[in-house]
């Protein structure tokens, strides 16, 4: 669970089609190098709304179906699925992988999979992280001699407009989609496609953070470039990005800082202050949609008796910091200034930060040293634009996530990186290669 739980499919953008059974039943899946199971919704999924909006596998209609029935459950960062194993032939491109174990999902709770454009996930990671130790599709493809070389490669088209969103090639590489030679690094731990990454540079200046080496994975199922909070905060600070909570925190300090200080001086309990000034009492006025939030609010109130949101978190942290500073005999002005600075360090929901869409030209290049070579990302390559026109939002392609040992700390090189650099997954030589896309 610790391993699989990294996934966040919110911004997943790249999909492909596979077929399962005979005759073939079509499914849209994410080809995900950060997990190792194949799952699609089952016709036996009755009580999850997500199943009604996606293609479902009907074993009765397949002449090549074989029953397994072992139960299975996968927890992702933004949703969990459960169901049971079945076996059938899987059509990938013009290949047919026979006797492939996969999960028929009978429960897809939550909104992520409901809103998703994909039906399921096809994991391309190693068997070591396969739930139930099921043999991954890629292993069977190699074992059944369906590809000449045990290699697959990704080209993700960043400028896609229409159908040509990218290409996954099993059995080799497509020379049309990269320039020069690939820089290869060995897989250091099987499970994810994990390798050692070197230094991180901001506009050519070393941060020193990974000069002694950092573990990283190439993950086609993650959109952003994810790393430890400490260094991601540094990068996001350099590109002028700030998190949602950070912004809330600053608002609180500017509008309520003086009030909070006076309440603290009057010995009001810190934990009560945020409720008293209205930040931890959900009033339906915050967030994007009052109507929907109020529905969610009612449902979560029943199960947990209350809820916190970003503003409440920010408020509580600001108050605690102010109280700490008061005990150090700082002036009120110094305290407010200090807390304002600390606001920048607050993590955001999803670890994401917002940037100003009109400031791309002033942002620095961010570079990563892999295999002794520098791989650059320019602002237009690491900033994601969501929506169009005046309503467009821009988010930093660098998100914070602290993965604990023994797996972590870990960097996740998602689509932001793989879009810029054509990526080869060399299973035969246990290595990963990157070349300019």
């Amino acid at each position: 669970t610790d391993i699989i739980a990294l996934k966040n499919f919110m911004d997943a953008q790249y999909y492909g089609e596979i077929g399962i059974g005979t005759p073939s039943q079509k499914f849209t899946v994410i080809f995900d190098t950060g997990s190792s199971n194949l799952w699609v919704p089952s016709s036996h999924c009755y009580f999850s709304v997500a199943c009604f909006f996606h293609s479902k596998y009907k074993s009765k209609q397949s002449s090549t179906y074989r029953k397994n029935g072992t139960s299975a459950e996968i927890h992702y960062g933004t949703g969990a699925i459960s169901g049971f194993y079945s076996q059938d032939n899987v059509e990938v491109g013009d290949l047919v992988v026979k006797h492939q174990d996969f999960i028929e999902a009978t429960k897809e709770p939550g909104i992520t999979f409901l809103a998703a454009k994909f039906d399921g996930i096809l994991g391309l990671g190693f068997q070591e992280i396969s739930v139930g130790k099921a043999i991954p599709l890629w292993y069977n493809m190699v074992d059944q001699g369906l590809v000449n070389e045990p290699i697959f490669s990704f080209w993700l088209n960043r400028d896609a407009d229409g159908e040509e969103g990218g290409e996954l090639v099993f059995g080799g590489v497509d020379s049309d989609h990269f320039k020069g030679k690939h820089t290869y690094v060995p897989v250091t731990q099987k499970g994810y496609w994990q390798f050692d990454m070197g230094d991180v540079l901001i506009d050519g200046q070393t941060t020193g953070y990974c000069s002694a080496g950092c573990a990283a994975i190439a993950d086609s199922g993650t959109s952003l470039f994810v790393g430890p909070t400490t260094i991601i905060a540094q990068i996001n600070h350099a590109i002028g990005a700030s998190g949602v909570v950070s912004q809330e925190c600053k608002t609180i300090v500017s509008q309520y800082g003086q009030t909070i200080l006076e309440m603290l001086i009057a010995e009001t309990q810190p934990q009560k202050i945020c409720s008293q000034i209205g930040f931890c009492t959900f009033d339906g006025t915050r967030g994007i949609s009052m109507g929907i939030e109020s529905i969610v609010d009612q449902s979560v109130d029943k199960s947990s008796g209350g809820m916190h949101d970003a503003m409440c978190t920010a408020c509580e942290m600001a108050v605690v910091w102010m109280q700490n500073q008061l005990t150090r005999n700082q002036t009120q002005e110094q305290i407010l200034d200090y807390v304002n600075q600390l606001c920048d360090r607050l993590p955001s929901p999803n670890g994401e930060s917002a940037v100003d869409c009109s400031s791309l030209s002033s942002m620095p290049n961010i570079s990563f040293s892999i295999g002794g070579k520098l791989f650059d990302l320019a602002p237009k390559e690491y900033v994601l634009k969501i929506g169009d026109g005046v309503a467009a939002q821009c988010i930093s392609g660098f998100a914070a996530l602290d993965i604990p040992p023994p797996r972590g700390p870990l960097w996740i090189l998602g689509d932001v990186f793989m879009g810029r650099y054509h990526t080869v997954f060399d299973y035969g030589n246990l290595r990963v290669g990157f070349a300019e896309a």
Binding site: G16, F47, T78, K107, P109, V169, F170, P349
Partner: protein, 46 residues
């Protein structure tokens, strides 16, 4: 032989992120460890 799988790219849109934000709120309320990094926890059922 090379087996080529064409990939489609979906545009990022605000509605997906709205869904995600709502789900984030659910998770916040349902599991304390999720509040900070929401790596895991019990997720709300439909």
């Amino acid at each position: 032989r090379l087996v080529r799988i064409g990939l489609k790219k979906k545009k990022l849109d605000l509605s997906n992120r709205l869904s995600e934000q709502i789900e984030y709120k659910e998770r916040q309320a349902l599991g304390a460890p999720l509040r900070k990094y929401h790596v895991r926890g019990n997720l709300g059922e439909d």
